[in-house]
Structure formats: structure tokens, C-alpha cells
């Protein structure tokens, strides 16, 4: 019954769970993934539902942006500022074998998050334009809509690859973290 008391103060002996993603962040993440899947692969392009799902996607990004201002610590802009300089220094430290775990998004991942949000908004705006009388049937709007969608698919692929890579590198299962909200951090890793 009596375990060695050395590890008591740090909780578990091998790894500890840190709650990072609140339920709103997680729900928005998976809902947004669902809307992209629906509109990209399943729904008829000209259908009403395609439009509504698109608006919902933009709405989800909107809620997330508000949450990034008034939400909890790890969900805030301040936890993952859009800083290319930090992203570059992060890449350098990864290349040199640094194993620091970032509790919020890592700096390179953060750039991808902003990219994904802007891309979804871009698709939403061009998609909306296609429904207006002024821009209906104008080629460049439709082309832009599809170009940005292609960019989104590329970004999602990179995003998934980045998640897989960072999970492997840091030993923190990021997919699990986005499902249950907690990052299981191996003992003795540096946190940021």
C-alpha cells in the first residue's frame, strides 16, 4: 500500500496528464473537420446543404476566434501567437533534437492553425459571393473558390502529417489530446 513518496508531489510516476483542450476547442475542431469532409467529399456542390454547411464552417471559425480572446489559457491567441520567427526557431530546435513539449499548439502548428482558419474563411467568402447576383457566374470567383479549396486540402494533409510527426517526436499523442482534452506528458520532458 505504501508507495515511495518521492513521486507524490508530481502525481504519477511515469507520465502526467495536463488538461489543455477545453470541450469547446475540441467540439469546434471536430465539427470543422466534419464540415470540410462533408463539403469536400460528400455533399453535392450546387446543393443548398453545401451552402449551409459552408456557413456553419465559417461560423465555427468565428466562434473559435472569439474563444481565442475570452477563452482559457491554452485556447488563447497569446498561447500560440502567429509568429514565423518562433516557428523557425522551433524547427531549428526540433532538428537539433530538442524534445520540449508545447502544451498549446507548437509554434509551427500555430502557423498552420491560422492558415487553416483563413483558408476556411476564404472559401466561405468566395462561396458566398457565388450566391450573390453581383458575382454569380463570374469565372474568377469560382476559380478562386476551388483554388482555395485545393489549398485547404493540401493544408489539411500537412496538418495531419505534422500532428503525426509531432506525436512521434514528443511522445505526446496529439490526436488523443484533441479527443479527451488532456496531453499525457512523459516524465522529465521540458514544457512550454
Amino acid at each position: 500500500m505504501s508507495a515511495p513518496s518521492d513521486d507524490r508531489s508530481s502525481g504519477r510516476t511515469s507520465a502526467r496528464d495536463v488538461a489543455v483542450w477545453d470541450p469547446l476547442v475540441r467540439l469546434i475542431h471536430w465539427s470543422l473537420a466534419l464540415t470540410i469532409l462533408l463539403n469536400g467529399a460528400i455533399l453535392e456542390e450546387e446543393s443548398n446543404l453545401h451552402e449551409w454547411v459552408g456557413y456553419a464552417a465559417v461560423g465555427l471559425v468565428g466562434i473559435r476566434l472569439i474563444w481565442a480572446i475570452i477563452g482559457p489559457q491554452y485556447a488563447r491567441f497569446t498561447a500560440f501567437p502567429p509568429s514565423p520567427a518562433r516557428a523557425i526557431s522551433y524547427v531549428r530546435s526540433v532538428l537539433s533534437g530538442d524534445k520540449t513539449v508545447h502544451l498549446s499548439h507548437n509554434p509551427l502548428g500555430a502557423i498552420m492553425i491560422y492558415n487553416l482558419w483563413l483558408t476556411v474563411i476564404g472559401i466561405g467568402v468566395t462561396g458566398y459571393m457565388m450566391t450573390t447576383i453581383r458575382f454569380f457566374g463570374i469565372d474568377w470567383v469560382e476559380e478562386a473558390h476551388e483554388m482555395i479549396f485545393n489549398w485547404l486540402i493540401l493544408s489539411v494533409a500537412l496538418h495531419v502529417a505534422g500532428v503525426a510527426f509531432d506525436s512521434w517526436r514528443s511522445g505526446v499523442n496529439l490526436v488523443r489530446a484533441m479527443v479527451i482534452g488532456r496531453k499525457r506528458v512523459p516524465q522529465g520532458t521540458k514544457l512550454e
Binding site: 505504501s2 513518496s5 469546434i28 466562434i63 474563444w67
Partner: protein, 193 residues
């Protein structure tokens, strides 16, 4: 230790439900805003009852979303506090118990029994758990009381209650600077090591 866990589970479920409502309500707000913009484009005015009600609904919905977001944040913060508090209480209480037991030179069996006594099991239940006769447990319990210099179960438990109520647990986990009290002098010697 089960009950706080269950409370945490309930709170987590509530937070998830709250997040779901926030998303749905925000999307509803968006729908109304879109509808209002369309109506305006088609030449509507705010004094139009239909449009006015829609605008009111949109404003209320947005206000509700912000309110729920603040509420969710509070809930998250409370959950975080509870977690930290639990860990501190749990971790340090276990530490305190260990040190007491060390100090009294309890055997492994006696430690086991002492913990079960503190958890409120009677001799018979302890015997069942340990697969020994309740008479054996009684003998071992008596040995625990004599080693801890207490007169029985109630006083033994109260030793730990006193530790809990003393209020000098600090979050930093440095109980070394406690003022020694009569019953704990030897324990503090141990701590100083």
C-alpha cells in the same frame, strides 16, 4: 477518492454540454444575422415588426453565447482548481500518513490495516479483505494503537483529522516549517531529515 472523481466527471460532462450549446446557439445567431442582412438588402427597415424581432433575437442570442462562454470558462477554472486541490490534499495526506507509520515502526501488515481503519472499515471487513480472522485483525489493530500511543480507533483517526484541520498545508508542498505540537514532535524530527 471515488466521489471527487465522480464530481469531476459530472463537471466534465456539463462542460461538454455547455460547449455544444454554445456552438449551436452561435450558429443560430449567425443564421439570424444572415437573415437580417438579406432582409435589409431587400429593403426592410428596423421598425418593421418582423425584422425588429429578428434583430432582437440575434442580439439576445449573441449575448447568450458570450455569457455561456464566460460561464464555460468559469467552470473550467473551477475544475482546474478542484484538480489541483485534490492532488495536493491527496498527495500530502498520503505523505503525512507514511511518515506517521514510519515513525511508529508499523509493519507492512499494520500499515495496510491502519489505512483501512482510516478509510472506515471495521475489523471484520478488514479481515475479509486480508483473508485473516477478525481476531487477528483486532490484535494487529491493538498493536497499532499502542505503537501510535492512542487508546483506540477514534483517537487514532483523530490524529489524522488534526493533521488535516491544522490548515498549515501549503501548496508548495514544504511542510518542514510547521510549528511542532506535542503529538507530532517525533514526526517533525523525521521531516527535518
Amino acid at each position: 477518492m471515488k466521489r471527487p472523481k465522480r464530481i469531476a466527471k459530472t463537471k466534465e460532462r456539463r462542460a461538454t454540454a455547455l460547449a455544444g450549446i454554445i456552438i449551436l446557439q452561435a450558429l443560430c445567431a449567425l443564421f439570424f444575422i444572415g437573415d437580417i442582412i438579406t432582409d435589409f438588402r431587400e429593403g426592410g427597415h428596423l421598425d418593421d415588426l418582423h425584422l425588429g424581432l429578428e434583430a432582437l433575437a440575434a442580439v439576445v442570442l449573441i449575448w447568450g453565447v458570450i455569457f455561456l462562454m464566460v460561464e464555460l470558462r468559469r467552470l473550467q477554472a473551477r475544475m482546474g482548481d478542484m484538480d489541483a486541490g485534490l492532488m495536493v490534499a491527496r498527495g500530502q495526506m498520503a505523505e503525512v500518513m507514511d511518515r506517521f507509520f514510519d515513525d511508529w515502526n508499523l509493519t507492512e501488515a499494520e500499515r495496510d490495516i491502519a489505512i483501512m481503519i482510516l478509510k472506515g472499515l471495521d475489523n471484520e471487513s478488514i479481515g475479509q479483505v486480508r483473508r485473516t480472522a477478525s481476531g487477528t485483525v483486532r490484535a494487529q489493530a491493538t498493536s497499532i494503537y499502542s505503537k501510535s500511543d492512542t487508546h483506540g480507533r477514534a483517537q487514532f483517526v483523530s490524529l489524522f483529522m488534526e493533521e488535516l484541520m491544522s490548515g498549515d498545508f501549503n501548496a508548495a508542498g514544504a511542510p518542514d516549517d510547521h510549528q511542532p505540537r506535542t503529538t507530532r514532535v517525533s514526526v517533525h524530527k523525521l521531516r527535518a531529515e
